[in-house]
Amino acid sequence: MLSLMILVPLLAGVIALFLSANGARWIALIATLANFALGIALWATFDPAGAQWQFVEQIGLGGSVAWALGIDGIALMLIMLSVFLMPICIGASWRAIDRRVPEYMAAFLLMEALMIGVFAAQDLLLFYIFFEGGLIPMYLIIGIWGGAERIKASYKFFLYTLAGSVLMLVAMLVMIQTAGTTSIPALMAYDFAPGLQWWLWLAFFASFAVKMPMWPVHTWLPDAHVQAPTAGSVILAGVLLKMGGYGFIRFSLPMFPDASADFVPFVFVLSGIAVVVTSLIALVQHDMKKLIAYSSVAHMAFVTFGLFALNRQGIEGALLVMLSHGLVSGALFLCVGVIYDRLHTREIARYGGLADNMPKYALFFMLFTMASVGLPGTSGFVGEFLSLVGTYERSSWAGVVATTGIILGAAYMLFLYWRVVYGTQRNADAAAMPDLDARELWLLAPIAAAVLWMGIYPESFLRPMRADVGRLLERLEPSVPQSDAHLTKGKSQPASPAPAGHVSADHTPNAPAESH
């Protein structure tokens, strides 16, 4: 099943290379939709209460690498995110890309195969191959179909990511040497010596922090986002950034629990700076894509906060932030793409008053802005709230700093929305833009539905991952330090940490929104 999901886009990509522009578009759409259907089947047959690893495949390739695939709930949700966004990306490029279409579609399909591979790989080296392999199609996508500064952006993207990853590769080789296996499940249960864990953790951190991206190695992201074509930004923000968070969950936390616990203050400091600094930077941007790119960095800091809170609320919250951000930032880039296609500028000042001539657009843009801000009822709220609760429990100060990010996030997103959609219509050409057409509606509506679904009933997304988070916490338990939260019994109900997360998750719409 998983191999099939990798093979379908791969083969379609090869075929697309030999077709005409229209043929390539259609085969890309059909292949990605087929993969989405396969993904739904995967989700439907995944048993949340079953074994940790499901759909396991294992074929030895000789040497020390094996074609070993398998997923747990976390990987399942991220694969779902990838296959969900892919058809939308193809649709978003339907008309925006008019030159070298077959190559473009092939690059995207290759990208999809590699992304699924990253989340499904159960062999350390196979994971690395997929993880790094993604550089090639993305480099080409930014470089060939990107904006004016595309070459610098593509170099920066490529070399930053590569530099981070090679350190991880050294660490992987050391791990293979020490543990004598390349199997990820086996390594997740292997106890490395605490001293070694530190080094390994740092090497993995170098890679995932760049991918995530965390402050101060985030500078490639705004460039890459701004220059990439719309669909490239969607995939970059939607899925590629999630590989960093996935890496932390799959490698750093379970494989090096002691080091992870030791590095909590380090990660919190970096994330705290990221939240405040990048939010402030976002506030002063003139370029819409750049603003959203900086907001991505800030949102990813919630992920690292939540993950390194090392408790259930934090980790589940981080996972939901990842999924939600994948949808929301993707949708926001699409929203930018919609007006960029009409006016060919991303300058915020060139727009204004779009609510008058593009009401449908204004509605969708509003929904995604609110989701990005974290309004209750949208997907953004659930994840951010849980991750903040977890962070607060680990360290009150970190919780306070992280929460300012919500306020600043509301500030820059609402400011953006106000400048683009409200106000007077300053520019005649912007005022003459037509509203969303059917194709664009079809792109935005599914994301909007998913965002609301995740906001109102996040349980469907949390259920497959709950057992995995539990296993992760079990693994972390011996090394997690005492938190500075002094939990005391309330008057009526016991405040035990584990159910608290679920309560707030299940009653999202009613939960108080004082964190905003």
């Binding site: 390739l61 040497g63 790094e132 550089l135 080409l140 060939i144 070399l159 050391v174």
Partner: protein, 477 residues
């Protein structure tokens, strides 16, 4: 004595003499005959290799040995030399009238290389090296009418002569202080006296310096860019592949066999040479505008990676070097075959990196092939070029050479920059000058084959190839 073990060399020597006669009597008309004759001879020699009995002991009184390591090396050398001959034929036919003795020189060079990889004595080492080098000097200056080619030949000859002198001096020191020119005798002396003996130490350093020159490793690399640029392109393709592999393999055997007990002494030297090659090969390529010069630095860079495996030492290290060289040969031959196809509309060969600009639109297939080779040379998975780098560093990490591995990997990131720059020129830049269409069909098939091996499909070869290299490396010990 078992002559059967020496069949490939005998075949090539006799064949080379016959071909020389053909070239002498038929003149330039004989070029097709000598070319395909030489290719057949090389393929025949490869088959003879497969069938040759693996003698246990040394032959010719301990001058050479026919073991698995040598056989693997010869296989690589013969096959890449055959490709180099095929590639040259079409190229010389087009621009240059006199090509009949070209294959003969390569055949003779191959005999020298075969002796190099199977040498177990300093004497045969030197003879093999010189036979290879002499043929190479002539090849570098093969286009007499071209100033650059003549300059390349002269430069190569003078510097090569100097290196041979250094090498000989080292050999004489080693002989003087050990009383033996046999590898096992030298090893015994090192085991006895260790590196306390200053004479032995000096001999070792000079020997390694001479070998480093032949490999083209930093700090003895200066000749490489000039010679690569000046020599006719098919000759450059040959230089970058077979002789390089032979010299690397020779160094492996010398270090592990003759200097085995002195591993602590040479490990530092090779580690320095390896890292210096990786970093200089990556940094110096930065400003190059000529593709052949760039590939010269790329080969310096690659040799550095291969030597990382040698630093690791042991059977695992030797095996990783063999693996690295095997994949390196495929990638490099692939790139050069593409480069040979690169001609302007009037058929003039192009060498400037600029001339590739926008090539992905005028020659999409060729551009895709070059892009695959470039990403692979940069060591980006999922292309096969990633795997040999992984293997050599795995060997190094097994010996706990952490710093070497980290610096080496970071060096590969620097190197990646100029490889992806080529991709940028081909894919991102606006189309430049028009390129000639078409090309030789056989070369096209070879390019396709190399690209397929380098593509992710090549991962299926990892199993068999690593088994072969492990067996070959095992025969050293």
């Amino acid at each position: 004595m078992n002559f059967a073990a020496f069949v490939p060399e005998t075949l090539l020597t006799v064949g080379a003499i016959v071909m020389m006669m053909v070239a002498a009597f038929m003149g330039s008309r004989g070029s097709a005959v000598t070319t395909w004759g030489a290719v057949l001879l090389l393929i025949g020699a490869t088959f003879a290799l497969l069938g040759a009995p693996q003698s246990d002991g040394p032959i010719f009184g301990g001058l050479v040995v026919a073991d698995g390591f040598g056989a693997f090396g010869k296989m690589l050398i013969f096959l890449s030399a055959a490709v180099a001959i095929i590639a040259a034929h079409n190229w010389f036919e087009r621009d240059f009238e006199h090509a009949a003795e070209y294959p003969v020189l390569i055949l003779l060079s191959c005999v020298g290389m075969a002796v190099m990889v199977s040498a177990t004595s300093l004497m045969s080492l030197y003879v093999g090296l010189e036979l290879t080098s002499l043929a190479s000097y002539v090849l570098a200056a093969y286009r007499r009418s071209d100033d650059r080619s003549a300059e390349a030949g002269l430069k190569y000859f003078v510097l090569g002569g100097l290196a041979s002198g250094i090498l000989l001096y080292g050999i004489s020191l080693l002989y003087g202080f050990t009383g033996s020119i046999q590898f096992d005798g030298i090893a015994a002396a090192f085991a006895r006296d260790g590196t306390q003996s200053l004479g032995l130490l000096f001999g070792l350093v000079f020997l390694l310096a001479g070998l480093a020159f032949k490999i083209g490793a930093v700090p003895f690399h200066m000749w490489a860019p000039d010679v690569y640029e000046g020599a006719p392109t098919p000759v450059t393709a040959f230089f970058a592949t077979a002789p390089k592999a032979a010299a690397v393999l020779l160094s492996v055997r010398v270090c592990l066999d003759a200097l085995g007990p002195a591993i602590d002494a040479w490990r530092q030297i090779i580690a320095f040479v390896a890292l210096a090659s990786i970093i200089l090969g990556a940094v110096a390529a930065y400003g190059q505008t000529n593709l052949k010069r760039l590939l010269a630095y790329s080969s310096i860079n690659n040799v550095g990676f291969a030597l990382v495996g040698l630093v690791a030492g042991g059977a695992a290290g030797a095996s990783s070097v063999l693996f690295y060289m095997a994949v390196y040969l495929v990638m490099t031959l692939g790139v050069f075959l593409c480069l040979l196809r690169l001609r302007g509309e009037d058929g003039e060969p192009l060498e400037a990196i600029d001339s590739l600009s926008g090539m992905s639109q005028s020659r999409p297939g060729l551009a895709a092939a070059i892009a695959i080779f470039m990403f692979s040379l940069a060591g980006i998975p999922p292309l096969l070029g990633f795997w040999p780098k992984l293997v050599v560093f795995q060997a190094a990490l097994a010996q706990e050479l952490y710093l070497l591995a980290i610096v080496g990997f970071l060096g590969s990131v620097i190197g990646a920059f100029y490889y992806i720059k080529i991709v940028k020129v081909m894919y991102f830049d606006a189309p430049g000058r028009a390129l000639a269409k078409g090309g030789n069909r056989i070369e096209g098939v070879l390019i396709l084959l190399a690209a397929l091996i380098v593509s992710p499909l090549g991962y299926l070869l990892i199993g068999p190839l690593s088994e072969m290299t492990n067996n070959a490396a095992g025969s050293l010990f």
